[in-house]
Symmetry: C2
DNA sequence: CAGAACAGCGCCTCTCGTATC
DNA sequence: AGATACGAGAGGCGCTGTTCT
């Protein structure tokens, strides 16, 4: 897909050239208008805009000049019709206001554009089956060639499971249990790895009483992190000091403070995201507990803010942009007719060690 | 634009009905396939899907049944071509990770969909003229009928000013000085009103030493709020206790604390957004100043978090969704051929009084 | 109320050509 | 002669209009 610069005010140009006295100003120029102006056949123009090999440089130059002066732009509908493909993919984003889905969409956007595909995306916040189905229909009505579903929560996954996908699709979701589709394509950040790295890190620091501030239970990531947290502790013969569910917001992190700390003996808290960690740190400072001297706090996401928290937050970096790009890459391969086997893409998160976690305090707090 | 429910697994249906032994499975069904199955002409099918009045209920029912069993979906490219319109509008969003642009886009999305228009949106973060121009070309290549530009910062506005817009467009931006276009359509939340309401509120509470935590200077909203802040104070014969520029982030709010408070005598701080207010409140608690007893802090945006801050934040509510909807409404009117005069749309913000601002302390702090 | 017939939207593709080195 | 560079023309993509029965 090549991009040309429009000479200003040449958009609604007259097409009087080819239609004599009609002078239908306001109508976009035609491929034949270009041909006429360049003194070539419409064939040649077509060959130029489609990068056909056997075109002489000077002819190409003449045509491109004509294109520029007319402000010609191929009619995408006509192209789609003749080629029998729209060059468009559709995306549904659930909870687009959240860090992960938002950045994943960014990656999806970049990747599809770079591949020469148009993207139509729709947001979903509503959990109703009807709303989700309407979003799907809305995309299918555009004859998208493929579908990318950013589905962090269960409701959207459930709809996908029930109705199935009839065109090439990729589902970006952690909780894969709901996808029974045989030839399904699925992508996610490896939550288990990220969680294990973090919990192992806390264990190495000597912590044995670790609490978990989890995300909402209808989020796949939250479920996975919580489950892996418990499993990793269990593998070391430990049990959680406490588990409190938040809603990803800083406020919920603040509010979860007492449940995580009071009487639990926790010396470290693994928060399922950075924002809640922020709120929790705030709570701890309010009750006079120092981070990390009294309590270690770690997060997940590596938001821009996390580097500047006080103290700077130890967290897990997830490359959502890359996730989106990988997903689109594989989706496009399928659209172009690659094999159709079940496939699962994973990106690896990485531990970002800053200073919000430290060794287990020598003397236990009394509380 | 009506939405139909696809019977599962009926998408890639055979079209053997009309093409005999060819049985081109994998090809989407045709309007003629539907006609044949329903025992009517393709004309009638066209009339049904376009809600033509003169169709008998039973005929309509037969056709709709055929549509359903075949999983027929009109080819959007063919429709666009025949109608000579794409039914698509394009949107560019600068800084989509920020609260305002993000929610404005949400409104744009909802409004265009409700009006039966498809939406293509692209994100811009880069300030380079090339990147912005490419985004524009990308949308124009899709033959969008109109353009919605969410332009909170100056660089995008500058590009718009320089190249002009050749198709119906609406610019959502506060800083209108850069738009010389004669018949331009522009929309924004009334920043001056919001700022005045807030500053007046602080003045009524008796504050005379008020500091301002502003947003980045290349943001239109930030410039407007700052200018109005200064003007409103001046109208009361007052000068700012301090002005510090942040970058919208909580961290910058935290970092701005000393500059706003130390030695300024400020008893109130007007933060240009809620997130910075959050950081500032954190700073204040760290240095032992109570909000609002010692220092009043107010924000702007009314983010979901603001209601749960401690103390709950007094702020200004901006209805970005409505802004987006209004903008699209007026844009569509232009696309449909309404008058083309210069037009400016404004939505009114409202004051949300919570408890982070109180009366001026009786005794001045010593610092 | 609905069918038949046809033109047309703008572009692509394919088949033949002719022309030039 | 056998390449390469381009033209002419037709048919088709799926749907929408209109007009005439």
């Amino acid at each position: 897909m090549e991009l040309r610069v429009l000479p200003s005010s040449s958009w609604r140009v007259s097409r009087g050239i080819s239609r004599g006295s009609e002078m239908a100003a306001g109508t976009a120029p035609n491929i034949r208008d270009v041909a006429e102006l360049a003194g070539v056949s419409h064939q040649t123009v077509s060959r130029v805009i489609n990068d056909h090999p056997s075109i002489q440089p000077q002819t190409r130059a003449r045509v491109e000049a004509a294109i520029k002066t007319l402000g010609y732009r191929p009619n995408s509908a006509a192209r789609s019709l003749a080629r029998m493909r729209t060059g468009r993919i559709g995306a549904i984003v659930d909870s687009p206001e959240h860090f992960g889905p938002m950045n994943t969409l960014r990656g999806v956007e970049v990747a599809s554009r770079r591949a020469g595909y148009f993207l139509s995306s729709v947001s979903v916040n509503d959990d109703s089956v009807d709303a989700i189905n309407q979003s799907l229909e809305f995309l299918l009505d555009q004859n998208v060639e493929g579908l990318c579903l950013i589905a962090p929560r269960l409701p959207l996954l459930e709809v996908i499971r029930r109705r199935g996908l009839q065109i090439p699709s990729v589902v970006i979701a952690t909780d894969t249990a709901h996808l029974v589709d045989d030839n399904g394509l699925q992508a996610s950040v490896d939550q288990e790895l990220g969680t294990r790295m973090m919990v192992d890190y806390l264990l190495e620091l000597g912590h044995t009483r670790i609490a978990h501030l989890s995300g909402p239970h209808d989020w796949g990531d939250a479920r996975s992190r919580r489950a892996t947290f418990e499993a990793t502790l269990a593998a070391h013969g430990l049990t959680p000091a406490a588990i409190v569910e938040g809603d990803w917001s800083p406020d919920s992190g603040f509010a979860a403070g007492p449940g995580l700390i009071e009487g639990t003996g926790a010396t470290a808290v693994f928060s399922a995201n950075d924002q809640m960690a922020l709120g929790l740190v705030h709570y701890l400072s309010e009750v006079g507990l120092r981070v990390p001297d009294d309590v270690s706090v770690v997060g997940f996401d590596n938001t821009p803010e996390s580097a500047h928290m006080i103290p700077p937050l130890t967290t897990v970096r997830q490359n959502f942009e890359k996730l989106g790009e990988m997903a689109i890459g594989s989706l496009l391969a399928r659209i172009k007719g690659a094999r159709v086997e079940r496939e699962t893409l994973r990106t690896q998160p990485s531990l970002v060690v800053r200073s919000s976690a430290g060794p287990r305090p020598a003397t236990q707090r009394s509380r």
